[in-house]
């Protein structure tokens, strides 16, 4: 173990920390802001909101996305909603309750200061997004409607049909587009980050590759924000979009940014099960469906009868049975493991017996078809397109799938990574969700970071840099990083092997899913750690990338991303092996209660594990940040 990390949490009572921070933070005079350049990588909720807000304040902003348009970022696919402690329903919600729910949902592996700030600014997010014209669901009186989500006993989730992520992203994208039109933001689309440049210990800019021409160029700035999403695609099959990748975070990690808690990966309980070998991705069915859908499996294993022929008495509504107070709204990690256990015991449904039923017949009877249609219409339609079955008459079949990664670049209270001048926001950082994220909290965190946290913390960092020169792109560090990137991409083209990047990605994903998925064991992780380096060296020897590096080449793009996934995969397994406890989404079979629930070890593992790059992910240096709980009390989670 090396350094003990300091998160720089401000002083004062928990509810005063953020105000104290803002009161003390250094500011940049409006006329001086234009002298600073900030680079934002990624244009999802965190990136678009940060870029737009920083440009509104007057900073020069360069925003980068590998998509053809900023509007395509994967935030767009979030369905269910966004949490906020508005207490519009008067059902006992408060900032403190959202804070406690999030800490508890994260199984006491997140940082109190950050989580409390998140709960505080959640209310501002809703105001901001409504002002932008996000068409959230409304009551007939014109006020905002809410629904409940997993891990909460109040209704605090705001939603726009089943397309909340889309509507929020379009709001942020439109605000960003306004700044692009006004000249406040220069937007570089179809441009992918390939390296981060550090000069004298400070982040000085980035190196990018133009995906249309293959050209590699440098961009210098006073500060760089990584808003580049999560790494769930390391599993190959996940609910992430096809192009989601870890490269930006990983390249920052290789330049000195610590990577925290890589083993915390969330498996979402309600996805459409895999239908065949050739499947390229899994599709999520919003957790909001669990508000009205009831989850069950046949009581008898290997019961092949269609759902409507299985009488009530032979159905096991297992979440309602095991967790009566939360029922079908038990948190994601708990619901996922319960489904896995029953499917493993042969209670699975569907042609491959790899799913559980999510049944809406009771809801349709209680609420009427119209209401169910209005609440979930587009989700039902999506399901019907993919599965070829009508969920109004047949229960949906669902099964857990990789969905979100709580781990990411280590950041302190200011969202600064361990490289000064480099920030990480949204899913790319590790900070707020601990070992398990609650539903409808990802959108909240992305927008909180981008709109309401980074603009303050970045000005605090930039103020002392006024009128001091920064390295330009002709600095040797930029030139060298460009050369390394060119060599790396030429290298992929010149291996001349026999297997495509997708083939290696699929094999990598199988190892990670089998040994570092929903349940992990020491033996399995050790096996993964012996298989991964072997497969990785095969990747380096037997990769085949056709085409050239001077025009669009999606095979080449994929090769670079798979390369980084390999290295991350090794670090994930190492972290999972090191954490000898079960907490949240990290479930080690050796550490469970008699009832099969996660067994934490607060004495030895109440810390964040953050890794330093040493040149080999298998030999990364482990650093720890101790987690202190002053307000929320360490307790065993119970959703019974």
């Amino acid at each position: 173990m090396n350094t003990l990390l300091n998160a720089k949490i401000p002083s004062g009572a928990l509810h005063e920390k953020w105000d104290n921070y803002k009161a003390d933070a250094k500011l940049v005079n409006p006329n001086n802001k234009r002298k600073f350049k900030v680079i934002v990588v990624g244009t999802g909720l965190a990136g678009a909101s940060a870029a737009a807000t920083l440009a509104e304040l007057g900073y020069q902003v360069d925003a980068f996305t590998f998509h053809d348009s900023a509007r395509r970022a994967h935030s767009i696919a979030a369905q269910g909603g966004i949490n906020a402690a508005k207490n519009y329903q008067g059902d006992g919600d408060s900032i403190n309750r959202l804070f406690v729910d999030t800490i508890k949902g994260g199984d006491f592996r997140s940082r109190e200061g950050n989580v409390h700030r998140l709960a505080q600014v959640s209310v501002d997010i809703i105001d901001q997004m409504v002002a932008q014209g996000v068409p959230f669901a409304r009551e007939y009186g014109g006020t905002l409607d809410n629904r409940s989500f997993g891990g909460a006993q109040v209704s605090r989730t705001f939603y726009a049909r089943g397309q909340t992520g889309q509507q929020l992203l379009l709001g942020a994208y439109q605000q960003l587009s306004r700044q692009v039109g006004l000249g406040g933001v220069r937007l570089f689309n179809r441009t992918e980050l390939v390296d981060v440049v550090v000069v004298d210990g400070r982040c000085s800019g980035i190196v990018v590759r133009d995906l249309l021409t293959g050209e590699i160029t440098s961009h210098a700035a006073h500060a760089v924000v990584m808003a580049t999403g999560g790494y769930g695609n390391v599993f190959y099959l996940s609910t992430n979009a096809m192009n989601c990748n870890v490269t930006a975070s990983w390249r920052a990690h290789r330049r000195g940014a610590m990577f925290a808690n890589p083993c915390y990966t969330q498996i979402h309980p309600t996805c459409i099960p895999q239908s065949d070998e050739s499947q390229s991705k899994l599709t999520l069915m919003s957790e909001s469906l669990r508000n009205d859908g009831r989850i069950w499996v046949p009581k008898n294993a290997d019961d092949a009868r269609p759902a409507d022929q299985i009488p009530e008495s032979e159905r096991d509504y297992y979440l309602e049975r095991l967790y009566p107070s939360y029922g079908n709204l038990a948190p994601r990690d708990i619901s996922s493991r319960a489904a896995k256990r029953l499917v493993d015991k042969g209670h699975g449904v569907g042609p491959l017996k790899n799913g559980v039923n999510l049944d809406f017949s009771a809801a349709i009877e209680r609420l009427g078809l119209d209401v169910v249609q209005e609440r979930y219409g587009n989700l039902f339609q999506m399901y019907e397109r993919i599965a070829g079955e009508d969920p109004y008459s047949t229960p949906m079949r669902i099964y857990p799938a990789t969905h979100y990664t709580m781990g990411g670049l280590w950041v302190d209270y200011e969202l600064a990574t361990t490289i000064p001048g480099l920030y990480a926001a949204g899913e790319a950082n590790f900070s707020d969700h601990g070992a398990n994220r609650l539903g409808a909290s990802a959108l909240m965190q992305g927008l909180a970071d981008g709109y309401f946290v980074l603009p303050y913390t970045i000005s605090n960092e930039l103020a002392p840099m006024l009128n001091k020169p920064i390295p330009t792109t002709d600095h040797p560090a930029f030139v060298q990083a460009e050369t390394e990137a060119r060599d790396r991409f030429n290298g992929y083209l010149n291996v001349g092997g026999t297997r495509s990047p997708d083939w290696f990605h699929r094999e990598l994903g199988k190892i990670i899913w089998d040994y570092c998925g929903m349940e992990r064991t020491q033996q399995g992780l050790e096996k993964a750690l012996s298989e991964l380096p072997a497969l990785y060296s095969e990747f380096k020897k037997d990769l085949r990338v056709t085409g050239n590096g001077e025009s669009v080449n999606q095979t080449l793009e994929k090769a670079g991303r798979v390369d980084d996934f390999f290295q991350l995969g090794m670090l994930m397994c190492r972290d999972a092996l090191d954490r000898e406890e079960s907490c949240g989404a990290h479930f080690r079979s050796e550490y469970q209660t008699a009832e099969g629930e996660a067994l934490r070890d607060d004495k030895n593992y109440c810390h964040v594990s953050a890794y330093d790059w040493t040149g080999d992910p298998m030999a990364a240096d482990l650093n720890k940040e101790k987690l202190e709980f002053e307000t929320a009390h360490l307790a065993t989670r119970s959703y019974k």
Partner: protein, 257 residues
């Protein structure tokens, strides 16, 4: 699970924006009917890489029908034969063994081809940049419930806001017009109370940007028929009405200095 056999694909290949393209024929010998259309293309690409050939370039990302990245004219129809379905959500069970399937990029002058089946849709972003937003700088918003929005109004805004910006409307239009896309954004923002302050300025700016880049609408209705989110033609009527009004309203604003 069944398998489709012997599919004959005619795929548009083009090396770059300024080169001459051509159709290339590929046979897919077997594919599961559970596979999506894009998974079928993935399998073809794996085969091409195996033969040391360049993979076919096509845009795609979420594969859930929401990001709007995927495109493709399939047998002459934007996003293929299934109503209200993006290419990524189209499954092979819609086709039969032995089918000939013609795959082309979006056809529109405002969406120039980049390579193979990939096109440049930046023209859509420019329309949004010209005025497709409500100006509300971060931090200044009032409490969300201070702006009551009647449910039917909110629902109508949501119907228009569902647009995914894929460009099928333009590709399907015989004139290459972007009226459904532009109308959808105008209709989303202009029915909401928050959108009133800039309503007419927005309509004029967005229509001007659209006219600079796209063809003109002659009410064929192909756009709405091709739209994977079933955006209604009504949005075009609302846009035209707001644009007409903007001509007098914006002039008044100008004279007030």
């Amino acid at each position: 699970m069944k398998h489709l056999t012997n599919l004959k694909l005619k795929v548009w290949r083009q090396d770059g924006p300024d080169t001459v393209g051509k159709f290339e024929t590929h046979v897919v010998e077997s594919v599961s009917d559970e596979a999506s259309f894009l998974e079928m293309l993935d399998q073809l690409n794996e085969k091409l890489i195996g033969e040391n050939k360049d993979a076919i370039v096509f845009d795609h990302d979420c594969r859930e029908g929401i990001c709007g990245t995927c495109s493709l004219m399939i047998n002459g129809r934007a996003h293929g034969p299934q109503r209200a379905t993006t290419t990524c959500q189209l499954h092979m069970r819609t086709f039969s063994s032995g089918d000939e399937i013609v795959i082309e990029p979006w056809r529109a002058a405002a969406f120039p081809i980049i390579k193979d089946l990939m096109v440049d849709r930046a023209s859509f972003d420019r329309i949004i940049e010209s005025g497709g937003f409500i100006t509300s700088p971060t931090g200044g918003a009032p409490d969300a419930n201070l702006i009551p929005v009647p449910k039917p109004v909110s629902d109508a805004a949501m119907d228009s806001a569902a647009c995914i910006g894929c460009g099928a409307c333009v590709a399907a239009c015989p004139n290459g017009a972007a009226n459904l896309f532009t109308g959808a954004k105008i209709a989303h923002l202009s029915v909401l109370p928050q959108g009133q302050a800039e309503r007419f300025k927005r309509a004029e700016a967005m229509v001007n940007s659209m006219d600079d880049q796209f063809g003109s609408c002659t009410n064929h209705g192909e756009c709405s028929a091709a739209c994977p989110k079933e955006i209604s033609l009504d949005v075009i009527a609302l846009m035209n009405s707001d644009f007409r009004k903007s001509k007098s309203k914006n002039r008044k604003q100008l004279s007030r200095g």
